[in-house]
């Protein structure tokens, strides 16, 4: 109340009429404020259970979300599978609203509210999208098919994933850190990444404002003295190349000063076929990835 008085009301002694009028206005503003707040940041979806809202939400989802989260919300290359019962950034209606409206800093999820970047969605449209997500998501949390404990053993043992991948600070850094990948990617995507890693390369860091992220492309450079380095591209522009070699050494080259320089979209990661990793063992590793994500 003190804040409102300071910001809104004139002096009641010097200007009694203005004060009365302003008091009315301020009260009105407060009421409108509370009303607006209730529309936007309420805990429950005001459109819940309205099948028409879910239908409109599907359209909104196709236009605004499917690029990353895939058709049917089943996950794409960048965005997680939203048909899962659990959502990493909160599963309550208010959590989903916040995630969609404001984005998730530090991830690829941008703010999608109106007047944010892109066309954006109004509060009502965001609630429609939430109605749609609720209509396609599975009812119970998925029980991991695999054995997470065995998956962990494989990850740090015979499957040797840890040579290049890190989970919660433990492992290599030539490939992407997998601490949160279990929930950030669909199961199909993860299976494909193991069985056929060159099919779709992982996306890496990217400069601010750049539309397309760098990918983990394989690169081989030969310096003027004949030294050869193989590794992954971390960052590249027309003139320079920043790479991590297979010994995890960070290297920066001026392209014009190299004897040769060759990029390839054949991933440095070996393709794990059934012989190298059975379906059951793969399921165990995926269960482990999901388990660490939930922590």
């Amino acid at each position: 109340m003190r804040v409102v008085k300071e910001a809104c009301l004139p002096d009641p002694i010097k200007q009694p009429q203005a004060w009365a009028a302003a008091l009315f206005t301020c009260t009105l503003m407060l009421m409108v404020g509370v009303f607006t707040a209730s529309l936007k940041a309420q805990d429950k979806n005001p459109l819940a259970g309205d099948p028409k809202a879910a239908k409109l939400g599907e359209s909104q989802f196709r236009a605004n979300c499917a690029f990353c989260h895939g058709l049917g919300a089943r996950g794409g290359g960048r965005g997680p599978d939203l048909t899962r019962a659990q959502k990493r950034h909160g599963n309550a209606d208010a959590d989903l609203f916040r995630t969609i409206n404001e984005g998730v800093p530090g991830t690829a999820m941008p703010p999608n509210g109106a007047t944010q970047q892109g066309v954006g969605m109004t509060a009502e449209e965001i609630w429609q999208v939430i109605s749609y997500i609720r209509s396609v998501q599975v009812k119970a949390p998925a029980q991991p098919a695999g054995n997470a404990a065995h998956g962990k053993k494989l990850f740090y043992g015979s499957a040797a994933c840890f040579t290049c991948h890190m989970i919660q600070g433990k492992g290599g850094r030539l490939g992407p850190d997998l601490s949160t990948t279990g929930s950030a990617r669909s199961t199909d995507y993860l299976v494909e990444s193991v069985r056929n890693p060159s099919r779709r390369l992982a996306q890496g860091i990217s400069e601010a404002m750049k539309e397309f992220s760098q990918e983990y492309e394989t690169v081989t450079v030969v310096t003027t003295d004949g030294t050869k380095f193989t590794g992954v591209v971390l960052n590249e522009d027309h003139f320079t190349l920043q790479m991590m070699d297979t010994r995890e050494q960070l290297r920066l080259f001026e392209k014009g000063k190299l004897r040769s320089y060759e990029k390839s979209r054949e991933s440095l990661m070996p393709a794990y076929d059934q012989k190298a990793l059975s379906d059951k063992d793969l399921q165990d590793i995926l269960a482990y990835l999901l388990e660490v994500t939930a922590q």
């Binding site: 499917a66 109106a114 007047t115 066309v119 954006g120 750049k210 590249e236 522009d237």
Partner: protein, 530 residues
């Protein structure tokens, strides 16, 4: 004695300098003769022909390698920084995100005044809270705002002189382009092709802010072209105008280009050619009456706005407009009558493999978006976009930023609701093995032939500047600002700005020193010889 003289000398120097930084009136004649004062940059594209060419040659192919940054001005705002500043007699006038405007001492970048409009919370800019620049006449600069006002600021103080409401922004309109001054008129268009607006071009009296004419880019009932819209679809048919036009004094015509029909990817419900979406318009600047039109993409379903600066080129007795369109074709048009002379692809195109009797590319039926998605090149962002091309009268070449990207186009039916998104489109990542890339291409407008190409690692949103020093300047998505030999495309110099370039560069001179300026990140950078 000596000590006391210093403040006096400083005062006298200051008193002498003040008038030198005086605000000379920019007359309509000066705008017409802009190429005679290459030290100044008097309008968005540098001149009325849309050349974005600077006749300054102090920085040239022999010394460009030694360019150094001179000063930077920070707007401290996030989002894309798309401005091309003006420079008039030593003062630089620019805009920034969220309708900032400023005047700087062009020698130092020190601000003379700074302005920011208080914007309502519910503005609807589709694609960032951006602005591309100002126009100037007399002692005023003109700004189009995100809440669809056109305002005049006092060039000396930044104070608002007049404020005209173009349209109710809540219906989905916004203004992001730099206006064009013709005689005593401020000509400007509107954005909103993602919200089902009905586009228009307005002209305001520069002195009073009174609206003198409006040309609707979608003809109303009874007007020719109205029949190209199904039912009531004309009311929400888009055709926005969000890139600055050009002006031809010889034929007394101003040429403007228009954007997509709404909803952009969904042709259902708006059967017909949808005039004058994706078109080049020739208007009488005094009345706003249409002289002729040329539609690049009929009944567009791929969001291929024609909002690229139309560039006037003369070849002997031929008076042309050349236009590298977002749909991937390079068009040469007779600007006296709007007749198409040639159309040739300058980037990868899959949507057309034949031409009509006039020589215009015809869309394949299979290129239409489907519910499941349909892969088409160029992609939604186009083979180029709003970033300016340049025409260099010395090399007689046209330089354009090309984007090599294909997309999966799909539709997402959206009911029209005033002020709400209405684009009916959905995009999915395409499964191409190779990543998207871009290029700066030098095209001979006489033949459509590509003379050289400079490849970008990824597609850029930077425009291009050419100069009499035999140079072209452009920026890339990786943050480099680059100088190339205009004749060969050889890189001569580059500077890492630290953020992607989303703007078109310009050049000016003060105190006999040439500068090149470009906006990147939140900063306006200037470069000169050491």
């Amino acid at each position: 004695m000596k000590k006391n003289l210093i403040p006096l000398a400083a005062f006298l120097l200051l008193a002498w300098m003040l008038p030198s930084a005086s605000f000379a009136q920019v007359t309509p004649q000066r705008l017409l003769d802009s190429t005679k004062e290459p030290q100044n940059w008097l309008m968005y594209s540098g001149d009325y022909a849309g050349h974005r060419f600077s006749a300054l040659d102090q920085i040239n192919i022999s010394n460009a390698a030694s360019l150094v940054p001179k000063w930077a001005y920070q707007t401290m705002a996030g989002g894309k920084f798309e401005t091309t500043p003006l420079v008039v007699d030593g003062v630089l006038y620019g805009t920034g995100q969220d309708n900032r405007a400023y005047a700087l001492d062009a020698r130092s970048g020190r601000p003379i005044w700074q302005y920011q409009r208080a914007l309502p919370a519910d503005i609807r800019p589709c694609c960032g809270r951006v602005n591309r620049g100002l126009a100037i006449l007399g002692d005023k600069v003109f700004l189009g705002t995100l809440d669809s006002h056109v305002i005049a600021l006092d060039a000396r103080t930044g104070n608002v002189v007049w404020d005209a409401t173009a349209v109710d922004y809540r219906k989905g309109y916004s203004i992001t382009l730099a206006p064009l001054v013709i005689k005593n008129l401020v000509v400007i268009g509107v954005s909103g092709g993602e919200y089902g607006i009905r586009g228009f071009i307005d002209a305001y009296d520069a002195m009073s802010g009174e609206r003198k004419w409006r040309f609707y880019t979608i003809p109303g009932p009874g007007e020719p072209g109205h029949e190209t819209w199904e039912g009531d679809s004309w009311k929400t048919g888009g055709a926005p105008v969000w890139i600055t036009g050009v002006y031809d004094v010889a034929t007394n015509a101003t040429f403007w280009t228009t954007g997509n029909p709404s909803p952009s990817n969904r042709g259902e419900g708006r059967a017909g050619d949808n005039l004058y979406s994706n078109s080049l318009l020739a208007l009488d600047p005094e009345t706003g009456k249409l002289k002729w039109y040329f539609q690049f993409t009929k009944h567009d379903e791929h969001d291929w706005d024609a909002t690229q600066v139309p560039v006037m080129v003369d070849q002997g007795d031929k008076h042309l407009i050349v236009h590298a369109n977002r749909n991937g074709f390079f068009y040469v048009i007779d600007r006296t009558n709007g007749k198409l002379i040639s159309s040739n692809p300058y980037a990868k195109v899959t949507w057309s493999n034949s031409k009509d009797a006039e020589g215009r590319p015809v869309a394949l039926k299979e290129a239409s978006p489907t519910l499941e998605g349909n892969r088409v090149c160029p992609g939604a962002a186009g083979a180029t976009n709003w970033m300016s091309p340049t025409y260099d009268p010395q090399t007689k070449l046209f330089y354009v930023t090309a984007r090599e990207q294909c997309d999966i186009f799909s539709t997402a039916p959206q009911p029209y609701e005033e002020g709400h998104a209405y684009y009916g489109s959905a995009y999915f990542p395409n499964d191409d093995a190779a990543p998207f890339w871009g290029a700066l291409r030098a095209i001979d407008p006489a033949t459509g032939e590509r003379k050289w190409e400079f490849k970008h690692v990824s597609p850029t949103w930077s425009g291009v500047l050419s100069t009499a020093g035999g140079l072209v300047f452009t920026g890339d998505a990786e943050g480099n600002f680059i100088a190339l030999d205009a004749a060969s495309g050889k890189v001569l110099w580059h500077f890492q700005c630290g953020a992607s370039v989303y703007s078109s560069p310009m050049s000016f001179a003060i105190d006999g020193k040439q500068y090149v300026a470009v906006a990147a990140g939140s900063a306006l950078f200037t470069f000169a010889l050491p």
